[in-house]
């Protein structure tokens, strides 16, 4: 399928940004070279937990190409040794007292070239006194466990927070009277977003003007600017953050990392621009991981499969510093959307966050604030219940799905789902997959297996029905470090009818330069080719919190539609002056105001734009020119959903899993550019296959990271991914100006459970009810043998 049409508005359209990318003319942060630029490198801790006895930098400083060596002691003098995290905890920029995870930042070297900077790291002599490492989150609160955060006054254990949602007493009451209760421990192991471009920055401090320019591949340039201002005491108008082309983000590029702060200090100290780019091991070992949720789920149901209540307890591993990026009121993110797509009487969750000697993070890895964990848990629990009731998992889901007439649906944990037609999406997915036929074939295969014919792979069919909650969010409920989650947009139509749109969010590959131009085109009838989208530069764009949690279209997409409508209203006033009629007598058709009842009497948006800048006399109170600004504060989140079906072949002899088919029906409301939407879904599905089968950041008992390179942290390739089969339903969001819901993370949220459920469905003849991700051949084989292991720890 190719795209050749050029819609003035919504529809399939080639991306405007591709012209530069296919020619190798993208401009990523490591492509930027500034005059006199120096290069930084970070010395990292080899230990997960150790006291720093001494740091000797003399030999490094004597290196002829070294311009500066910065340690925690240097930073203490500047009051920058510690910085706030996005969860209002503190994180060491460079370690002073102890190192608390393997790969933690200890020193920073600035040199005239990047090879020399690396050489100099080896000349720094650090003496450590190793301490016992805390690696098992489930034991982190045991009495006698070493206290990781002894830097925090009054911190006598490794506890971070307790948080819950739902009605505990009502939930317990339903459980007490339930006919059937099933319980299951479910681990969502630690994974890493691993964008192919690692994190990096160039800091350029001009001592004369006092201006600090930071080129950084951040997903949240405005939030970074404000945090730098708050932390470093630099005036905010003297800080400019430029996020150029970004080679994938997936949540990994939301936080502020110590390397960025070191580059800033390096530039201030040397008076030169300083570039710091991490290498792949640094990226995997030290920057924002995701998940690491140790969950216990319980379902109360009737014998005929009516799900009545859900109860969940979670130990959340946040690593050595609470660097999770969640809205302030929600330390466990939006995990309390864990009732998913089902109508239940009561639900309760309790989450306890703990410190361990692992990298900080807990970012949304292509998931909207812990919803991946929640969706995985509920969809795994549904299959566990189906297993116990010996019910078909599709039938069990269909029986319990919310009905269309229940929307807007107030969930038992406090959400209001905006719109949905769940049975329609599931029915479509079942039909596309040929579900009944697949089950019939599987029944024959199982009969042969039971009769002793055990050659060949086992077919597994797995379902998942997810509900996302995206577009954070209403500012009265949601902020990060006190910054409300609203986003601005500015639109200016030039005299010749060409336009420039400035938006607060930034793209890491989502195609904003195309999609947002299409929104303006839809609203004003100007060709997308005539609309320039400016983003990723805090000096050029209005304030907003950035691109993550699938929030760009729900928030900034709405801002774009609203600002275009403001311009359209201004255009009506100008047109009324041009046509000498009352504005109320004008009607809009795409691209043109005309006189009601006389279609020939009208003015195009281009004609209006010129007149707005001309000597035309305008009515009292109407300013000239054709532009507008807005700030969009979403009234609610949007709730995309979807039904996924995965078919796998499992070799019981080796444990090898092959994904044979994957059917994905997504409903993300109105689709602005269906081509881009489908691309987003494809990527998320591959992510789900990766997490379900391959991707894992595990640790040994000393806290050594066992996923620190792409040889150990396995990403799915073209060979593990099938050809995706996509379907769609469209249920517009009733509160979003164009009815769109956001889609960037839907597939990552929904797909892992479908893959895992498929593998476990294949293993049903062996009596395997559950096994944890990733379902590598070794883990599957052990599950078949009845000897499952903890996948997250390599502890014998």
């Amino acid at each position: 399928m190719t795209t050749v049409d050029k819609p003035i508005g919504f529809g399939r359209m080639q991306r405007k940004e591709d012209a530069r990318f296919v020619r190798g003319r993208g401009n990523y942060v490591d492509d930027v070279v500034l005059p006199g630029m120096l290069y930084g490198a970070v010395l990292r801790s080899p230990f997960a937990h150790a006291r720093i006895v001494s740091i000797d930098t003399a030999a490094a400083q004597a290196h002829p190409k070294v311009k500066a060596v910065i340690t925690g002691q240097t930073l203490e003098g500047l009051k920058l040794a510690w910085m706030p995290t996005l969860s209002a905890d503190t994180q060491a920029v460079l370690a002073t007292d102890k190192v608390r995870f393997q790969g933690q930042e200890v020193a920073f070297v600035v040199a005239t070239d990047k090879y020399a900077a690396r050489d100099a790291l080896e000349l720094i002599d650090v003496e450590y006194e190793p301490l016992p490492a805390v690696v098992d989150a489930r034991r982190a609160l045991d009495p006698g466990t070493p206290v990781i955060r002894d830097d925090k006054e009054g911190q006598a254990d490794n506890h971070i927070f307790d948080w819950g949602a739902g009605d505990e007493a009502a939930t317990d009451a339903v459980f007490a009277s339930a006919e059937v209760v099933v319980a299951q421990d479910v681990l969502y192991p630690r994974v890493h977003p691993a964008p192919l471009e690692t994190c990096g920055a160039i800091a350029d401090f001009d001592a004369v003007t006092g201006k600090l320019t930071i080129w950084c591949n951040t997903q949240a340039p405005h939030a970074h600017r404000t945090v730098y201002a708050l932390v470093a005491g630099l005036p905010e108008h003297k800080i400019r953050v430029i996020s150029p082309d970004v080679g994938g983000g997936f949540g990994n590029k939301v936080p502020i990392y110590p390397g960025y702060v070191c580059a800033i200090v390096g530039s201030i100290v040397t008076g030169k621009p300083v570039k710091w780019m991490e290498d792949r091991s640094e990226n995997l070992m030290s920057t924002g991981f995701a998940r690491d949720y140790h969950m216990r789920g319980e379902v109360a149901a009737s014998r005929d499969g009516d799900i009545r209540a859900l109860r969940v307890k979670v130990i959340a591993d946040h690593g050595a510093f609470n660097g999770t990026a969640q809205p302030t009121k929600f330390p466990a993110g939006f995990f309390h959307v864990f009732t998913g797509s089902y109508d239940v009487e009561a639900a309760h969750c309790a989450v306890t966050g703990v410190y361990t000697n692992k990298a900080p993070g807990g970012v949304a890895y292509a998931c909207s604030f812990r919803i991946t964990e929640a969706a995985y848990l509920i969809e795994r629990m549904i299959d566990v219940l189906a297993y116990e009731l010996d019910m078909d998992p599709a039938e069990l889901r269909m029986k319990n799905l919310l009905k269309p007439e229940q929307f807007p649906y107030p969930s038992p944990t406090g959400w209001e789902y905006d719109s949905g037609d769940y049975p329609r999406a599931l029915s479509l997915a079942l039909e596309m997959a040929g579900y009944d036929e697949l089950r019939a074939q599987q029944a024959l295969e199982r009969a042969r297996w039971a009769a002793g014919d055990r050659g060949g792979p086992l077919t597994g069919i797995g379902l998942s029905f997810f509900t996302e909650a995206v577009g954070a969010g209403p500012r009265k409920h949601m902020d990060i470090l006190g910054l409300g989650m609203a986003d601005g947009a500015e639109l200016r139509v030039h005299p010749t009818g060409k336009a420039v749109l400035r938006i607060s969010v930034q793209s890491q590959g989502q195609g904003h330069e195309t999609t947002y131009a299409q929104i303006v085109a839809e609203e004003l009838g100007i060709s997308p080719d005539d609309i320039e989208v400016v983003h990723g530069d805090t000096d050029q764009t209005p304030f907003g919190l950035g691109t993550y949690g699938s929030r760009s279209t729900p928030v900034s997409g709405a801002a774009t539609a609203v600002v275009a409508r403001k311009v359209r209203e201004r255009a009506r006033q100008v047109a009324s002056a041009m046509l000498e009629v009352d504005p109320g007598d004008l009607e809009w058709e795409k691209g043109r105001w005309f006189v009601r009842g006389d279609q020939a009497q009208g003015r195009t948006i281009q004609e209006i734009a010129f007149a707005a800048h001309s000597s035309l006399e305008l009515p009292e109170g109407i300013e000239g020119h054709l532009d507008a600004t807005t700030v969009y504060n979403p009234p609610n989140l949007t709730f995309p959903f979807g039904a996924y079906i995965c078919v796998v072949d499992v070799d019981p002899g080796t444990g090898q899993v092959k994904v044979r088919r994957f059917v994905a029906v997504d409903d993300c409301g109105v689709r602005i550019n269906p081509m881009i939407v489908e691309g987003q879904v494809h990527g998320g599905l591959a992510d789900g296959v990766g997490m379900a089968l391959m991707q894992l950041i595990a640790f040994d008992e000393d806290g050594n990271c066992l996923g620190a390179s792409f040889m150990d942290y396995l990403l799915p390739t073209s060979m593990e991914c099938p050809s995706w089969e996509l379907g769609e339903t469209v249920t517009p969001s009733p509160h979003h100006p164009i009815g769109a819901k956001g889609v960037g993370e839907s597939a990552t949220v929904g797909s892992p459970a479908a893959v895992v459920n498929a593998v476990l469905d294949a293993l049903k003849p062996y009596g395997v009810r559950h096994a944890d991700m990733p379902l590598t051949p070794a883990h599957v084989w052990r599950a078949i043998q009845g000897r499952p292991i903890r996948t997250d720890l390599a502890i014998t």
Partner: protein, 159 residues
């Protein structure tokens, strides 16, 4: 050491450290930043270029090993203003999102089509299996290569 490398038809002579990687020579010495760097272990393939007509991961080749040889990078894929059909296919089929893996993917695709003008889906998947993409789930990369195979002279000649 002094080396002379022909890159996209232009001869470049430079003084380099023996340990300098080819990817850094291309990016930092010659300013050809279309070739990217993504891992330390030759796994991700965003650094793929041609060395004497065959794809290599340029993070695993020393610049001095390219002395006297020819290199082709993404900047040498288009013929002037005319995109290679592979480039056109990637645009038409939405074979890229963030664009970071794209140059390496396209260099491999061009090499495949030069040897196998009509590859099967499995052959395309195998050809790019040493390269990672985090955005596309590979679906549209495969379709882009199929499009290029079906339009060997690009869109104009196909009409």
């Amino acid at each position: 050491m002094q080396i002379t490398v022909t890159v996209n038809g232009d001869e470049h002579t430079a003084e380099v450290e023996p340990r300098l990687l080819l990817v850094h020579f291309l990016r930092d010495t010659l300013g050809l930043t279309g070739t990217h760097w993504g891992c330390d272990t030759s796994n991700c393939g965003v650094c793929v270029v041609w060395l004497d007509g065959a794809p290599v991961k340029s993070c695993t080749v020393l610049a001095v090993m390219a002395d006297g040889r020819t290199v082709r990078t993404v900047e040498g894929l288009a013929a002037g203003a005319d995109l290679d059909p592979v480039q056109e296919g990637f645009v038409r089929c939405h074979g890229l999102q963030c664009g970071f893996c794209t140059p390496g993917m396209m260099m491999t695709a061009r090499w495949l089509l030069d040897r196998n003008p009509d590859p099967s889906e499995d052959e395309i998947r195998e050809a790019i299996s040493g390269q990672s993409c985090r955005c596309t789930g590979y679906e549209n990369i495969v379709r882009a290569v199929q499009w290029a195979a079906a339009h060997p002279a690009g869109e104009v000649a196909a009409q």
